[in-house]
C-alpha cells in the first residue's frame, strides 16, 4: 500500500512540490495505479534477462568532426543568460 509519506519522498526525488490539498487525492490515484502495476507480481520471469528489443545494436557514425551549434543560438531559449552563459542563482554561498 502506498502511503502519503512515500509519495512525499518520491516527490522530493522528482523535484516536484505537492500541495497539501492535493496529497490525499494523489496518494489515492497512485495507490490505484500501483495496484494495477502489481498484476505482474505473480508472473514468472524465470530465466528472462531482457537487454534490448529486436536484438538491435547501436548504429555508430564515423568519428569525424562536424560543426556544432553556435553559442548564441543555444542561449536563445534561456530566460536568463549573460556573457555567453546560462544564469542561475548562487549554488554555493
Amino acid at each position: 500500500m502506498v502511503t502519503k509519506e512515500e509519495i512525499m519522498k518520491i516527490a522530493i526525488l522528482s523535484k516536484l512540490y505537492v500541495a497539501e490539498d492535493e496529497i490525499d487525492k494523489l496518494t489515492e490515484d497512485m495507490a490505484e495505479i500501483i495496484s494495477f502495476a502489481d498484476t505482474i507480481n505473480n508472473a514468472s520471469d524465470e530465466g528472462m534477462d531482457f537487454d534490448n528489443i529486436n536484438g538491435l545494436s547501436n548504429v555508430l557514425r564515423d568519428d569525424v568532426v562536424v560543426p556544432s551549434l553556435p553559442r548564441e543560438k543555444i542561449l536563445q531559449n534561456a530566460k536568463d543568460s549573460d556573457d555567453g552563459c546560462f544564469m542561475v542563482k548562487n549554488i554555493m554561498k
Binding site: 494523489l26 490505484e32 495505479i33 528472462m48 529486436n54 536563445q76 531559449n77 530566460k79 542561475v88 542563482k89
Partner: protein, 486 residues
C-alpha cells in the same frame, strides 16, 4: 484507379489543374473555418506555407519535375522539432520554446518542399489517450465533435480526418498514432523501432517512441513511410527501412498470406468492434489469405509492463526541464532547488506529474527489482511470444482499440480505466514491431472502428500490402471527406 490523395494532388499539380498556391490557400482557409471547432492546430504557419507553395509553382512553371510529396500541404505533431517554429509538446513548460534545429523527418520533408500548414495538438508530452491532457485543450473528432479525436496524436488525426491537412506525422509510444487514427476513421502506422529516426522528436519513453504517418489511405501511408525511413547518423538506434521501398510491393496478391489471430486480443473487446474485426477476417478469407489462430499468453502483462517502463523512462527524460536552458521558468524563488521545483510543479500538467512520480517510484531503491526489472524481464517474454507467433503467420490482425471515440471529458475521470483503452496497442511498442490501423466499420452512432495489422520487425511492406488489399476489398469504410474537398 488511384486511392491515394497524395498521388491525386500530385497529378493535379503536374497537369496544372490547380497551382500549389491555390491548393495551399484552400487548406489555410479551411483551417480558418474548421479549426475553431476541431482545435487540431496549435500553431498555424500560413506565411511559410505560402512561401513554399510559391517556390513549388515556380518550379512547375519552369518545367522542372517535382517529387510526389512536393507541394502537398501537411502537418506535424507538436513534439517534432521545427527550427524557428514554436514546438510546445502542448505543455506550459515549453509554451514559448522555439527549436534551433529540425527533427530528421522534417529536414527530409522540408528538403522535398513539403508544405507545412502548422503544428498540431497532442496530449502533453504525448501522455494520454484523448488529447485532453493538452495545455491548449483537446482536439475534437471530425466525425462528431462531442467526441475526442483520441491521443496522443489527436491533433494530426483530427486535421487529417477533417481534411485540413492532406497527411501528417505523429509519434507512437503506446498507440498514439494508431488509436487516434482509429477514432477518426483514417490510417495510422507505427513503424518498427529504429526504422525512422527519432532525432528531434521530444522524448517521452525512448525505447518505445517512434514517428510515423497518419493519412487517409494505406497508399499514402506507404508513400510517406518510404520518404522518412532513411538511415540517420544522429539517432544511434536508427537503421532506416530494410529492403526495397514499401510502395513497390503494396499491391501484391495476398493469396496464401498467413493472417494470425490471437484470442487474447479479442477478449474484453466491445461487441460491435469485435464483429467488425471478425468481418475483416472474412474479407481476408475471400482474398485467399489463410487464417491461423493461436495464443499469446503473455499479452495479459503487456499493459502494466508498458506503464512501468514508459513512466520510468519518462521520469528520466523529463528531468531536463529545469527552467535553466529553455522553457518556462518560475518567477519568484529562494534558491536554485526551489526554482527547479517551482518551475516543474507549475510547468507540468497533472498527468505528466503523475507519470513522473510513478516512474520515480518504480526506479527507486527498494522497488526497482519488483517493478522495473520485473517489467523488463516480462518484456522479454512478450517479445519471445511474438517471435514464436511469426513462425506461424505473416501478420497478426487485431482490433486497434476495444471501443470507439469516447465523449469529451470521459477520459480524464479515471486514470486506470483510461490506461486500459491502450490494451491492444501497447504490445507493438513493447516489442518494437510495426503496426498499422485501418478503418473497418462504424458503430451505431456513426463513429469509426479501426483494426490493426501487426508485422514482424522491419516488415512494414507486409502489413501495408495486407492493409491495402483489405482497403480495396472493403473500401466503403473509408472516412467520408469532411471539410474542404479537392
Amino acid at each position: 484507379m488511384s486511392e491515394s490523395k497524395i498521388a491525386a494532388l500530385h497529378k493535379a499539380l503536374v497537369e496544372k489543374e490547380l497551382s500549389c498556391t491555390e491548393l495551399t490557400e484552400k487548406y489555410i482557409k479551411a483551417i480558418e473555418t474548421e479549426n475553431g471547432e476541431l482545435n487540431a492546430y496549435v500553431t498555424v504557419t500560413a506565411e511559410q506555407a505560402m512561401e513554399t507553395a510559391g517556390a513549388v509553382d515556380e518550379k512547375i512553371a519552369a518545367g522542372k519535375e517535382i517529387g510526389l510529396l512536393e507541394g502537398i500541404p501537411m502537418t506535424l505533431k507538436d513534439n517534432i522539432s521545427t527550427e524557428g517554429i514554436r514546438t510546445t509538446c502542448c505543455s506550459k513548460i515549453l509554451e514559448d520554446y522555439v527549436p534551433i534545429y529540425n527533427a530528421y523527418v522534417w529536414d527530409v520533408l522540408k528538403a522535398q518542399n513539403a508544405v507545412l500548414l502548422g503544428k498540431t495538438n497532442m496530449d502533453e508530452f504525448a501522455m494520454g489517450s484523448s488529447c485532453e491532457n493538452s495545455y491548449f485543450g483537446g482536439a475534437k473528432n471530425p466525425h462528431n465533435t462531442a467526441h475526442v479525436a483520441g491521443g496522443s496524436s489527436g491533433g494530426v488525426a483530427s486535421a487529417v480526418g477533417g481534411n485540413i491537412a492532406v497527411y501528417g506525422l505523429g509519434s507512437d509510444t503506446g498507440g498514439s498514432i494508431r488509436q487516434p487514427a482509429s477514432f477518426c476513421g483514417i490510417v495510422g502506422m507505427k513503424p518498427t523501432y529504429g526504422a525512422v529516426s527519432r532525432y528531434g522528436l521530444i522524448a517521452y519513453a525512448s525505447s518505445l517512441d517512434q514517428i510515423g504517418p497518419i493519412t487517409t489511405s494505406v497508399e499514402d501511408a506507404a508513400i510517406v513511410f518510404d520518404a522518412v525511413s532513411g538511415h540517420d547518423t544522429m539517432d544511434s538506434t536508427c537503421s532506416g527501412r530494410q529492403g526495397a521501398p514499401v510502395c513497390e510491393s503494396l499491391k501484391n496478391d495476398i493469396k496464401g498470406m498467413k493472417i494470425g489471430i490471437a484470442k487474447e486480443y479479442m477478449e474484453g473487446i466491445r461487441d460491435d468492434v469485435r464483429s467488425a474485426v471478425e468481418e475483416a477476417i472474412e474479407v481476408y478469407r475471400s482474398l485467399g489469405a489463410d487464417i491461423v489462430e493461436f495464443d499469446l499468453p503473455s499479452l495479459k502483462y503487456a499493459l502494466p509492463v508498458y506503464y512501468i517502463i514508459a513512466c520510468a523512462e519518462a521520469s528520466s527524460n523529463l528531468g531536463r526541464y529545469d527552467g535553466i536552458r529553455y522553457g518556462y521558468k518560475a518567477e519568484n524563488y529562494l534558491d536554485v532547488n526551489d526554482m527547479v521545483k517551482k518551475t516543474r510543479s507549475s510547468g507540468f500538467g497533472e498527468e505528466v506529474k503523475r507519470r513522473i512520480l510513478l516512474g520515480t517510484y518504480v526506479l527507486s531503491s527498494g522497488y526497482y527489482d519488483a517493478y522495473y526489472k520485473k517489467a523488463q524481464n516480462l518484456r522479454g517474454r512478450i517479445v519471445q511470444d511474438f517471435r514464436d507467433a511469426y513462425r506461424k503467420c505473416d501478420v497478426i490482425l487485431a482490433p486497434t482499440v476495444p471501443m470507439t471515440a469516447f465523449e469529451n471529458g470521459h477520459a480524464v475521470s479515471d486514470p486506470v480505466e483510461t490506461y486500459l483503452t491502450d490494451i491492444c496497442t501497447v504490445p507493438v511498442n513493447i516489442c518494437g514491431l510495426p503496426g498499422i490501423s485501418v478503418p473497418c466499420g462504424f458503430d451505431a452512432k456513426g463513429l469509426p472502428i479501426g483494426m490493426q495489422l501487426i508485422g514482424n520487425s522491419f516488415e512494414e511492406a507486409k502489413i501495408l500490402n495486407a492493409a491495402w488489399q483489405y482497403e480495396q476489398a472493403a473500401g466503403k469504410f473509408r472516412a467520408a471527406d469532411i471539410g474542404v474537398r479537392n
